[in-house]
């Protein structure tokens, strides 16, 4: 399934999304995003891990992109709050975010995102969007 117009707008015309350098992947297994480590993502420079805020940003943008596809939105949804659990250190590498809709209500939508470094689950985020 190709990216829709709103998703392309977000990916190609949003400066901070370009700063991160994430890519959207659609396959039979569903929608996910990938982020390859860049020096500007660094959190702990001695251990060489992704910064927690970068991980949360990556997951939130993935959630927003996924919602734009699932709910056929014409513009970026508005995230009102998030909760993010850091389960394991995310060492510099390629990380993958896998979103799923927990609940799509009339007024609020809740998206959960699992972030993996290879096969290891490093973080889980939950994002609430107002319709």
């Amino acid at each position: 399934m190709a990216l829709n117009k709103a998703q392309k707008e977000m990916l190609e015309n949003t400066p901070f999304v370009e700063f991160l350098g994430l890519e959207a992947l659609t396959s039979d297994e569903g929608f996910s995003c990938r982020l390859c480590f860049r020096e500007q993502h660094i959190g702990n420079p001695l251990l060489r891990t992704f910064h927690g805020g970068i991980l949360a940003s990556f997951a939130e943008i993935t959630a927003a992109l996924y919602l734009m596809e699932s709910l056929d939105l014409v513009e970026e949804p508005s995230c009102s709050s998030m909760t993010f659990d850091y389960l394991r250190p995310a060492f510099a590498g390629t990380i993958r975010a896998e979103p799923c809709i927990v609940r799509a209500g009339r007024r609020f939508v809740v998206v959960s995102v699992d972030v993996y470094l290879d096969k290891t689950l490093v973080s889980i985020g939950r994002f609430i969007y107002s319709r």
Binding site: N13, F19, S81
Partner: protein
């Protein structure tokens, strides 16, 4: 926190750190378990409306939490976020900077607890709030060990 620690904090969060340098993070105040930081609007960090992206808000708040913990502990031993909760009250207006303040209000065993907020730099309008918990004394050397070794402080 002594002047020496303030200098170390400013050095760590300054231009030699690739992320903080790219963001233009400034350490405004540190002391008594509290810390304040700021950053100005930069085009590379914006959303499509010319305002700082909410990902930048989260990253600044998370960073500020770390500095508040160092202030409370009085040193820069390794820490790592356990969980973070951010409420986005308002989008950052176009061109506006952020001023964030975080307090580390409790440390119990290996966990430090923080709460704080980010406001618009010009009119102090509330933009986002943060609550979090951090693990204290995690993997790796102290954040200031490299700086001490290089004789930067």
């Amino acid at each position: 926190m002594s002047d020496r620690y303030l200098t170390m904090a400013k050095t760590f969060f300054g231009t030699s750190h690739p992320l903080f340098n790219a963001f233009g993070v400034e350490v405004e105040e540190v002391g008594k378990g509290r810390a304040a930081m700021s950053l100005s609007c930069r085009p590379t960090l914006c959303d499509r409306h010319g305002g700082l992206h909410r990902g930048v808000v989260v990253t600044l708040l998370d960073t500020n939490c770390g500095l508040a913990i160092f202030s409370r502990l009085g040193d820069m031993r390794p820490i790592a976020t356990i969980d973070l909760r951010v409420d986005f009250i308002r989008p950052v207006p176009a061109g506006e900077g952020i001023y964030s303040e975080v307090e580390c209000y409790a440390v119990r065993g290996d966990i430090a607890y923080v709460r704080g907020q980010g406001c618009a730099y010009s009119d102090h309008n509330l933009l986002a709030t943060v609550f979090g918990s951090f693990a204290v004394g995690t993997l790796g050397p102290a954040f200031d060990s490299a700086m001490k070794g290089e004789g930067k402080v």
